[in-house]
């Protein structure tokens, strides 16, 4: 009974929310495959990431911390793929780990996919030599600080349980002096901010990041202070990166409908405000009428 009443109220409070839900869902469903050719203008932040990786001497090691989970895979997985592809394709090496428990399976998945893709192009990459997945470490900020002091002490074993002493790539890697670039993928805390605090500034490590759109505005200040050389913000950042690599993927294919949905939402804001203003005007008029009649 209460439910019925509740629904009636939902409707009386203006438009039933569910019509809006339906509009958004229908738009995304209908226009996902819209063939629209949009122009990309990668900005300095995206270019910064690209240049940082391009500029590394062949054979350098990139430390990739994938601090995210499947909840934000839509935004971060495309950039994760693009970055790993770029790094491995340039014959650089990757040590990957995560301070989010949901990171390691995603790291595994991306390595597997990208290595298959590279194999088709005639480039064979080997686990333990070209890349390694060190898995997850609990402890958040403490774990990050600990990785800064010593990588093998923090990760005595990789995700497969192999001792790091037996992994060729980990040979001679002690701390960030042996790392060419720190690359962080993150959705929140612990994430890019904590890496900046505990590792980047402390050991003066070169750093780039790929973050969700919600986190991106935060990083502009760290970009201006040159603590971070570049970053990819949200699906748009990922799409720009795919564009730079000339390797279209999920991010670019989502951009058309992303643009359209922005306009739909802006339309909602505009419409809501028009109704709001007209309501105020109506009330004001009613008040005036009242005051003149009394």
């Amino acid at each position: 009974m209460q439910n019925v009443k509740l629904e009636r109220e939902m409707k009386s409070g203006g438009l039933d929310k569910r019509w809006i839900f339906l509009a958004v869902g229908a738009l995304v469903l209908a226009f996902l495959k819209l063939p629209l050719h949009l122009s990309y203008a990668p900005n300095q932040k995206t270019l910064g990431v690209y240049k940082a990786i391009e500029g590394l001497p062949s054979g350098s090691i990139v430390y990739l911390s994938a601090d995210y989970g499947p909840s934000s895979k839509a935004e971060l997985l495309p950039m994760h793929r693009a970055l790993v592809y770029h790094i491995l394709n340039r014959d650089l090496k990757i040590i990957a780990s995560s301070v989010w428990d949901s990171g390691p399976p995603l790291i595994d998945m991306v390595f597997k996919e990208v290595c298959e893709e590279l194999k088709k192009q005639g480039k064979e990459k080997k686990y333990g030599i070209d890349y390694v997945n060190l898995g997850y470490k609990s402890g958040q900020d403490v774990a990050i600080a600990k990785i800064g002091t010593s990588i093998p002490e923090t990760f005595p074993r990789d995700y497969l349980g192999t001792s790091v002493n037996q992994i060729p790539l980990m040979n001679g890697v002690i701390n960030f002096s042996q790392i060419g670039l720190l690359c962080n993928l993150s959705v929140g805390s612990p994430g890019a901010r904590q890496w900046l605090q505990q590792v980047q500034t402390r050991y003066k490590v070169r750093m780039v990041a790929g973050v969700t759109a919600v986190m991106a505005p935060d990083l502009y200040s760290f970009y201006q202070s040159r603590q971070i050389e570049g970053f990819l913000g949200g699906l748009v950042g990922a799409a720009e990166y795919e564009y730079l690599l000339k390797r279209p993927g999920f991010a670019m294919s989502g951009m058309n409908v992303q643009s359209l949905t922005h306009f739909l939402i802006l339309g909602f804001v505009l419409l809501g405000n028009i109704l709001f203003v007209s309501e105020i005007l109506r009330q004001r008029k009613a008040k005036e009428m009242k005051s003149t009649s009394t």
């Binding site: 009974m1 569910r18 839900f21 958004v24 869902g25 469903l29 996902l32 495959k33 300095q44 934000s72 895979k73 839509a74 935004e75 997985l77 428990d101 949901s102 390691p104 898995g135 997850y136 470490k137 609990s138 402890g139 900020d141 403490v142 600080a145 923090t154 005595p156 074993r157 995700y159 349980g161 901010r193 904590q194 900046l196 605090q197 505990q198 500034t201 402390r202 969700t212 759109a213 919600v214 991106a216 505005p217 200040s221 760290f222 201006q224 202070s225 040159r226 603590q227 913000g233 949200g234 699906l235 748009v236 999920f250 294919s253 989502g254 409908v257 992303q258 949905t261 922005h262 939402i265």
Partner: protein
């Protein structure tokens, strides 16, 4: 062949669960509730296994084993972690909760210290340093869209200082503090606006990611799974509504 069957099954499960969560948009219903509780259970089990393999085995079990086997006796100190670990587990029982305060104190002390130094170095000093920008000099353009220029640097300086003034609580905001704080509010609102725009961007992307997955699940090789699951869930919801209405009708109106 078996792997293929497993993948096929997996895709069907994924398609069903995605749509089950989306059914919440219509209203809270048993299918959503099932999916939601499944989520809680699976993620709790998942976390436990990751803690075990990620930290407890490599950083506690193996060092202690090596110490006991005499490979590296120095690692015996890891016993301390074991003791504190047991102490924290005692939080599970009401009577022994207080014992867990010791290991918690260790964590809190470490966190406080790491954060204090980390924030001071990266978020305070480096940021202050980044605000000391030149307002003249060779090669510095007067205006620019991106990158440093006289105007951009000036705006940056004014922005940082006025926002700090806005958050100054020790004095009543009177001129010139009042004007400073007002400008600071403006900067804050633009900041929140950008954050707002970016949040919209991010949330929409999350939906696009899901719909992209649903499109893949709907392919022929996966037996059009998302289509069938979608239709199935809609039919269920209709039946569920009909049953609910019938129930409501038989209930006394005084309820």
């Amino acid at each position: 062949m078996e792997v293929k069957t497993m993948e096929f099954l997996g895709i069907w499960i994924a398609a069903f669960l995605t749509l089950a969560i989306f059914s919440f948009l219509y209203k809270d219903n048993p299918i959503y509730k099932f999916a939601e509780h499944l989520f809680v259970g699976i993620s709790a089990g998942y976390v436990l296994i990751q803690e075990l393999t990620g930290t407890l085995i490599p950083n506690l079990y193996h060092p202690l084993r090596e110490a006991l086997l005499g490979v590296s006796p120095a690692k015996m100190s890891r016993l301390g972690a074991l003791v504190l670990g047991v102490m924290i587990l005692l939080r599970f029982f009401k009577k022994t909760t207080w014992i867990s305060r010791w290991p918690l104190a260790l964590i809190i002390g470490t966190f406080a210290a790491l954060r204090m130094t980390g924030y001071t170095q990266s978020d305070l000093i480096k940021q202050i340093n980044g605000t000391m920008v030149p307002l003249r000099g060779q090669g510095l353009p007067f205006t620019s869209w991106e990158g440093a220029s006289v105007i951009n640097n000036l705006i940056l300086i004014i922005g940082v200082i006025t926002v700090l003034i806005y958050f100054f609580f020790s004095l009543e905001h009177k001129a010139p503090l009042k004007q400073g704080a007002l400008i600071g509010t403006g900067f804050l609102m633009i900041t929140f606006g950008s954050s707002f725009g970016y949040t919209v961007l991010g949330r929409v992307s999350l939906l696009i990611g899901c719909v992209q997955d649903l499109y893949i699940y709907a392919e022929r090789r996966y037996g059009y799974s998302s289509l069938f699951c979608g239709v199935g869930i809609i039919i269920y919801l209709v039946l569920w509504e009909i049953r609910n209405r019938a129930k409501n009708r038989t209930m006394p109106t005084s309820l």
